[in-house]
């Protein structure tokens, strides 16, 4: 018999508009409101309107109900602002719901951010204890798991160095290590895998699947669809604060991608999204262009398409290669390609001086099969340094109209749909 871990019923959270953005108010604004509110109410009652509608509020989450069985791993997907983080904040008791309720059976560990409460002046050792205590571990538990944490983070040598001297990779590893060794019955994880390099992400994913195999309940928010598919069996899809779907992960992911929920056509990086380790490389924008050179998120397989990556270098980089990894939405690789794959090109751009660049990759017609694809971008110098990588930076859809064989309305397996040369000979 399975036991219930989380029961959520009609949960809702209302925010005052601007509250999340500008937050605190000044005393003067409050005083003004104290005086003006009764007048407003009076005038609205004089006008005979009975509903006291507060226009300056929004529901970040509303009428959300679902259940999670103990030991299940539930993915939570949705666009930015769909209410995913609000849901985790409510379940981890960081903020209170406005209506509804949730019952949680077991100790909850929430991992909404790695390294919460890390203090730059304290050493690695000191931060492990501090962070552990903040996440709800007892000192004896931390003592007990200390070596494991240090091992996982691979920072033995620097354990007594203030973390402000850590590289950002070390910092992240340590922060994740502490959190990963938390042993609550229920773990709430928000997009922590979005940070760090690919190897670190792999390690985190590995640890996450260990955790779920140990029979613990995990709620996992992510924009990374392949992580959702790999780690979770069921998922909920949120949109505009409402629960749209609660179903198998495959179905939820398909629905999410099919309804254009994901970032499509163009990805523009904000300054604060660029990790510090990327310097001097600065991603600017990534876009997919149709034959008319318009940004598009849906293209025809029979047309050529272009993937354009704009970036800037603050300092010259030697041996830089900028490339793409194309994958299907199910996580199968289609190809990996770099702008300096051609040796002549590589010699010509052996050193790229500081400045702004655009690398454009032309994908020939009749290449991709119908389906959804994600583009990851990489910028690295071979065997020297990986400056930047972002998985699933873009998603786009390919349509097979006009492709070979499209007169048969059927789905064809396989990621490519080439126009191959077929010869038919009549041999008799």
């Amino acid at each position: 018999m399975t036991e219930l871990a989380i029961h959520v019923e009609d949960l809702g959270k209302q925010y005052r508009i601007g509250e999340q953005v500008s937050g605190y108010r000044t005393l003067r604004e409050s005083l003004v409101e104290v005086i003006s509110a009764p007048i407003r109410r009076l005038s609205s009652s004089l006008r005979g309107s009975t509903t006291d509608v507060r226009e300056d509020t929004i529901w970040a989450l509303r009428h959300v109900s679902f259940e999670v069985q103990a030991g299940d791993v539930l993915g939570i997907i949705g666009r930015n602002g769909a209410g995913k983080s609000t849901l985790l904040k409510l379940l981890s008791r960081i903020t209170e719901p406005t209506e509804g309720m949730a019952t949680i059976h077991g100790r909850v560990g929430s991992l909404l951010e790695v390294g919460t409460g890390f203090h730059p002046e304290l050493t690695g050792r000191e931060n492990i204890y501090l962070n552990g205590a903040i996440l709800g571990m007892k000192r004896t538990e931390i003592d007990h798991r200390f070596d494991e944490i240090v091992d996982f983070a691979e920072i033995e040598k620097f354990i007594d160095t203030p973390v402000k001297r850590f590289s950002s990779g070390m910092y992240l590893r340590l922060a994740f290590a502490v959190a990963a060794h938390l042993e609550p019955e229920i773990l709430l994880v928000d997009e922590v895998l979005a940070v760090g390099d690919a190897e670190f992400q792999r390690k985190c994913l590995g640890k996450m699947s260990d955790v779920s195999q140990e029979g613990r309940t995990v709620l996992f928010v992510s924009h990374n669809m392949s992580a959702i598919l790999n780690l979770t069996e069921r998922a909920i899809l949120l949109d505009g604060g409402h629960l749209l779907l609660h179903t198998s992960s495959e179905e939820a992911v398909d629905h999410y991608l099919a309804s254009g929920f994901s970032q499509t056509g163009e990805r523009v990086w904000r300054e604060d999204e660029i990790p510090a380790v990327a310097t001097p490389f600065r991603p600017v924008a990534l876009r997919i262009l149709d034959p008319d050179r318009h940004v598009a998120d849906s293209l025809r397989s029979a047309d050529p398409m272009a993937i354009e990556f704009d970036y800037a270098l603050d300092e010259p980089i030697t041996g830089l290669r900028v490339g793409l990894v194309l994958m299907t939405n199910r996580g199968e690789y289609v190809f990996t390609s770099f702008d300096t794959d051609d040796t002549e090109q590589f010699e010509h751009y052996s050193v790229r001086s500081a400045g702004r660049y655009r690398s454009r990759c032309i994908i020939p017609p009749d290449f991709l099969n119908a389906g959804q694809y994600t583009v990851s971008v990489i910028a690295s110098s071979f065997r020297i340094k990986r400056y930047f990588r972002e998985d699933s930076a873009l998603t786009f859809t390919v349509d097979a109209t006009g492709s070979p064989g499209s007169h048969w309305p059927e789905a064809r397996p396989g990621p490519v749909r080439p126009r191959l040369d077929w010869q038919i000979e009549v041999r008799s």
Binding site: L11, Y24, R93, T95, P97, G106, E121, A133
Partner: protein
């Protein structure tokens, strides 16, 4: 929000209910006790970090009251010639400053504590009271360091502590209660209204002159005025401190009752207000 421990199968599972709360809430002392290790670590962090990357380090804990004492001795002692109960002015001012600085640091840090602990509040759950509590208590370390200097000065001026010295922890506790009570009010208000950040230093400065730090409480004559004066809990603390260490003045019994009552009122009302505002901290801060 409520927390109920129940037995499920063989292992006890904590059952947490998340739901909107309304009105005034009590202080959940049991929960606070369960989070005592976190409070301990927050205090420990405050103490460790406070003087990091300063040239003089922990010496600042001593230098701050010491320099104030020098300034007060020159201005109020030598120039203004304010009577100091026949105690050498440096000793008089330093013993007054000792409890005052503890109070002042406590209330100032507590009032900023939630805002500067914003990244904790918005990312992890724990009883929010842990933050101002730990910032007030962490001041005790500074106090103890500065207290060593007082002992040195008492030896230098040939003052032997009387038996009244044993009442010192009680006055310290009173200072802590006052500092925490005021700190809770200001911290909770500061989350919603950043005006508090500007108000606090001014408030503390006025409070200093309302307390017998640079003058003696014996200047206040008449039982009624004494009682009114005692409504400032720090008056009881500072005067009591001087009496306990230097044996001067009278035991401030006449207004101590008022001081204790006001301090307790400040603490309880502060805690209740804090709890009432707590539910919005993560959204507003």
């Amino acid at each position: 929000m409520s927390l109920v421990e129940t037995q499920r199968g063989e292992t006890p599972l904590t059952v947490t209910t998340v739901r909107p709360s309304r009105g005034w809430l009590g202080v959940n002392l049991r929960e606070l006790w369960r989070y005592r290790e976190l409070i301990y670590f927050l205090i420990w962090r405050d103490v460790k970090v406070r003087y990091k990357q300063t040239l003089l380090g922990a010496a600042w804990a001593i230098l701050k009251p010491f320099f104030s004492m020098v300034v007060f001795s020159v201005i109020f002692g030598t120039l203004a010639k304010i009577p100091t109960d026949e105690v050498p002015p440096p000793l008089f001012y330093y013993s007054g400053l000792l409890s005052w600085v503890f109070f002042q640091d406590g209330i100032t840090k507590a009032s900023n504590s939630l805002v500067s602990g914003r990244n904790l509040i918005t990312k992890v759950y724990f009883p929010r009271l842990a933050i101002p509590i730990s910032s007030v208590i962490s001041g005790l370390v500074d106090f103890l360091l500065a207290f060593l200097v007082l002992i040195g000065m008492m030896v230098y001026y040939g003052y032997r502590p009387t038996t009244a010295i044993w009442t010192l922890p009680l006055f310290l506790l009173l200072a802590l209660i006052t500092s925490l009570g005021g700190g809770l009010w200001l911290a909770a208000l500061n989350v919603a209204y950043r005006d508090i950040g500007y108000v606090t230093p001014f408030l503390v400065q006025v409070w200093l002159y309302a307390s017998p730090v640079v003058y003696s409480a014996t200047l206040i004559k008449g039982d009624l005025w004494q009682l009114v004066y005692g409504l400032n809990p720090m008056a009881g603390v500072v005067q009591g401190f001087r009496w306990a260490t230097l044996g001067v003045g009278q035991p401030p019994s006449s207004f101590l009752v008022a001081s204790v009552a006001v301090a307790l009122f400040l603490l309880i009302s502060g805690a209740l207000y804090f709890r009432r505002m707590e539910r919005t901290f993560a959204d507003v801060v």
